[in-house]
């Protein structure tokens, strides 16, 4: 799996290749002082960033790997791919959820080791759906939806800067992110179309989950970590548009899944 499945430019791919090659070289070093760098989660991180940071933490907790959280205002610049979160293990930096999962797998820790080839492919498909579809929906709401941008996004982005950057940077970032959505053919979609896509994603995830405890049966996998990160963030983030939350509330088994994972991995 590519380290940065959501990356858009060839440049990004190049960096992820570099990181991947460092990975294989250092994969045998030990798991000591693992640091997970994230933006300030309560004041700064945006919906999809919060989701990815939470997913990475969930993954570590599910895999029983100790880590420490470090919150920095400039994590997007420190990160080798420009995306959050990233893991620092000794001198190795690994960015983004999928990158971290691959890195940990190279160290011999796999949550999905018990799955068959077919199940593994299925899990990958779910992960890339969450990673692409769900994240794009969140990016759309955060940056493209005018009210959300002006009431929430712009002040969260500005929270770590001083004037006049508080005015300049949210706008620059918005232009960049709308450019990204445009590349994915998302910028011109209407809110209704986006919500319809979200409903489809939730429905498919809900039917996969069925009455099982986790997506792939009774044991948690990487896909569950990612799914929990996104669902929990959508449920708990206060946004001017409640449509996404209301859509999710229709799927009871997804809500139960969220409370279950939270109880099992974060409240013990």
């Amino acid at each position: 799996m590519a380290t940065t499945s959501s990356s858009s430019t060839p440049h990004r791919h190049l960096i992820s290749d570099l990181v991947a090659s460092t990975l294989s070289m250092n994969a045998d070093s030990e798991w000591i002082d693992a640091l997970l760098f994230t933006p300030f989660l309560t004041e700064q991180a945006l919906l999809y960033e919060y989701a990815d940071c939470l997913a990475a933490q969930t993954f570590f907790r599910m895999a029983g790997l100790p880590y420490q959280l470090r919150q920095r205002p400039n994590v997007d610049f420190i990160s080798p791919t420009g995306k959050v979160p990233f893991l620092k293990l000794n001198n190795v930096l690994v960015a983004e959820f999928t990158g971290i999962v691959d890195f940990v797998a190279q160290k011999g820790v796999k949550l999905s080791a018990h799955l068959t080839e077919v199940q593994l492919a299925e899990m990958m498909a779910h992960m890339s759906m969450i990673d692409l579809l769900l994240r794009n929906i969140e990016i759309y709401v955060v940056w493209r939806h005018d009210e959300t941008f002006s009431k929430i996004t712009s002040s969260r982005v500005a929270s770590v800067f001083h004037w006049p950057l508080t005015v300049i940077l949210p706008r620059l970032k918005r232009r960049e992110m709308i450019g990204y959505l445009d590349d994915q053919d998302w910028a011109t979609k209407s809110m209704d179309e986006v919500l319809e896509a979200a409903d489809r994603a939730f429905r498919s995830l809900s039917s996969q989950l069925g009455s099982c405890e986790f997506l792939m049966g009774d044991k948690p996998t990487e896909a569950d970590a990612l799914l929990f990160g996104h669902l929990y963030s959508i449920m708990t983030t206060q946004l001017p548009c409640h449509d996404l939350q209301n859509l999710l509330k229709k799927y009871n088994n997804l809500l139960d899944f969220t409370t279950r994972v939270e109880r099992e991995f974060f409240k013990r």
């Binding site: 960096i15 570099l18 920095r72 205002p73 400039n74 997007d76 610049f77 420190i78 080798p80 620092k88 001198n91 930096l93 800067f161 001083h162 004037w163 006049p164 950057l165 300049i168 940077l169």
Partner: protein, 479 residues
């Protein structure tokens, strides 16, 4: 005593050679509508015939000759405002002997050019009707209304760039100038610089107000990163204590974006991103050097402070002391000593930002070391320090062409203390570096200096980026 009929031709010092003298005669002829022009310093004016002489004919001999300035006239004024001219020459009316008048007229002409009011100015002192009366004429050429230039070049990183620049001197008729430049590289980076200077006019007044607006991009090889800056800078330059000290005040507001490359150490990465810097600088200097880039004699003492906070992301206090002394040894050998001390203290709880630290090393201070590489390192990146000291002893022997090419021998020493240092002086004493070398130094006016040196190490610390051998240094800020 000097004859009343004599008319004095007063030349600014710089024009004392015959070629330019002839050109000036032509200029005067034009502006006075003269019928006959001659290649000799004697020319015919309208009525009556007047003879012009150079100022040195009577300079120093007429301090007893009383003079009253009846009028000051300007020839060649189109855009310059009347009140600006009055401020510039009012002092001439105070001169009470001919010697002083010659001297002051010369000074006024020089000043008109130096503040940017005129491109050329020559004072001519004419006799007037009354017995002790004189009329001072200034034959002037105003700056071109507008200049424009296009330039294509290659940057040091091998990137081709195209730059445009435009300038307007004395744009509102009071010596104000505007300079604008824009450059674009093939890679798509663009930078610009907009500069506005307003001189404060008055008798022998050298002070001005400057405003700059710029966007720049730089590669910082010692940190393995790139820096983009967008800045607004306000500056006042003036003099203190009866014009003995140079004084400047500066207000910086800079939006900086530090982008690291893949090779940068984590200690550098941590500082990447956007920051806003608001700072005030104050600098006082005593300067008697005859030439800033390579003084043959004179002293420089400068103390500058920079304070950042409470606005912006940076909170620090910086101090820098510069001292330079030059003197002639034997007949033409120049002995010079330069010293530079820098210290930066963080005022907030945060660690001092990488970009604000004191750096040392390079061909302009501690020759032979990589640029800004002395001190604490992490992987291949240099992290700078909290205090730095550097000193250089120079011996120069002029070669041909004189005032341009010199044989140069030097010995340089320096040290740096880390940001976290408890006792900066002790740390600096423990990690001294010194190098010596010989080479050639080329100085082009006040524009740039080029050094070619063979460098030999005397004291280095393990891990230093030092290479014995030939080094080339170019720039303006050499110590």
């Amino acid at each position: 005593m000097v004859e009343k009929e004599k008319v004095i031709f007063c030349l600014p010092e710089v024009y004392r050679n015959d070629f330019i003298f002839d050109q000036l005669i032509g200029l005067i002829n034009e502006s006075c509508d003269c019928q006959t022009a001659s290649r000799t310093p004697t020319i015919k004016m309208r009525e009556p015939t007047k003879t012009y002489h150079r100022a040195d004919v009577l300079w120093g001999k007429a301090n007893q000759t009383p003079s009253i300035v009846e009028a000051v006239q300007f020839h060649g004024i189109n855009i310059t405002k009347n009140d600006a001219l009055i401020k510039e020459v009012a002092e001439l009316y105070r001169s009470n002997n001919l010697d002083q008048l010659v001297h002051d007229s010369n000074c006024a002409a020089k000043h008109l050019q130096e503040v940017g009011l005129m491109e050329n100015a020559t004072a001519l002192i004419d006799t007037a009707q009354s017995k002790e009366g004189y009329i001072v004429n200034f034959v002037v050429k105003e700056p071109k209304p507008f200049t424009f230039g296009v330039k294509a070049g290659m940057s040091t990183q091998g990137d081709a760039d195209l730059s445009l620049n435009a300038a307007k001197q004395s744009c509102f008729g009071r010596g104000e100038s505007i300079n604008a430049s824009y450059s674009n590289t093939i890679k798509g980076d663009h930078s610009f610089n907009l500069n506005f200077i307003k001189p404060f006019l008055g008798w022998q007044k050298y002070s001005n107000f400057t405003m700059s607006l710029y966007r720049s991009m730089a590669h910082l090889p010692w940190n393995q990163s790139n820096l983009d800056e967008n800045a607004v800078i306000l500056q006042y330059n003036g003099q203190l204590f009866n014009k003995k000290l140079l004084h400047s005040l500066k207000m910086n507001s800079i939006w900086r974006t530090l982008r690291v490359t893949d090779d940068a150490a984590f200690a550098v990465r941590e500082f990447s991103g956007h920051t806003m810097k608001f700072s005030f600088e104050n600098s006082v200097a005593y300067d008697t050097r005859d030439r800033p880039l390579l003084a043959t004699r004179g002293l420089l003492g400068r103390w500058s402070q920079e304070y950042a906070g409470p606005l912006g992301d940076h909170h620090f206090l910086k101090n820098q002391l510069d001292f330079q002394a030059s003197t002639l040894l034997f007949k033409d050998v120049i002995l010079a000593l330069s010293l530079q001390v820098k210290s930066v203290n963080s005022l907030g709880s945060k660690e001092l930002h990488l970009l604000e630290r004191a750096y040392l090393g390079g061909n302009q201070d501690l020759r032979g070391f990589g640029l800004n590489t002395v001190g604490v390192r992490a992987d291949n990146s240099c992290l700078g320090g909290g205090a730095a000291l550097a000193g250089v002893f120079h011996l120069y022997k002029p070669l041909f062409p004189p005032q341009m090419l010199y044989a140069h021998a030097w010995i340089a020493g320096g040290s740096i203390a880390s940001v976290r240092s408890k006792s900066a002086i002790k740390d600096m004493l423990e990690a001294q570096r010194s190098t010596a070398g010989i080479g050639l130094t080329f100085v082009f006016k006040n524009i740039f200096r080029l050094e070619l040196n063979y460098v030999h190490p005397i004291q280095t610390v393990p891990g230093d980026s030092f290479t014995r051998g030939l080094h080339i240094g170019a720039g303006v800020n050499f110590i």
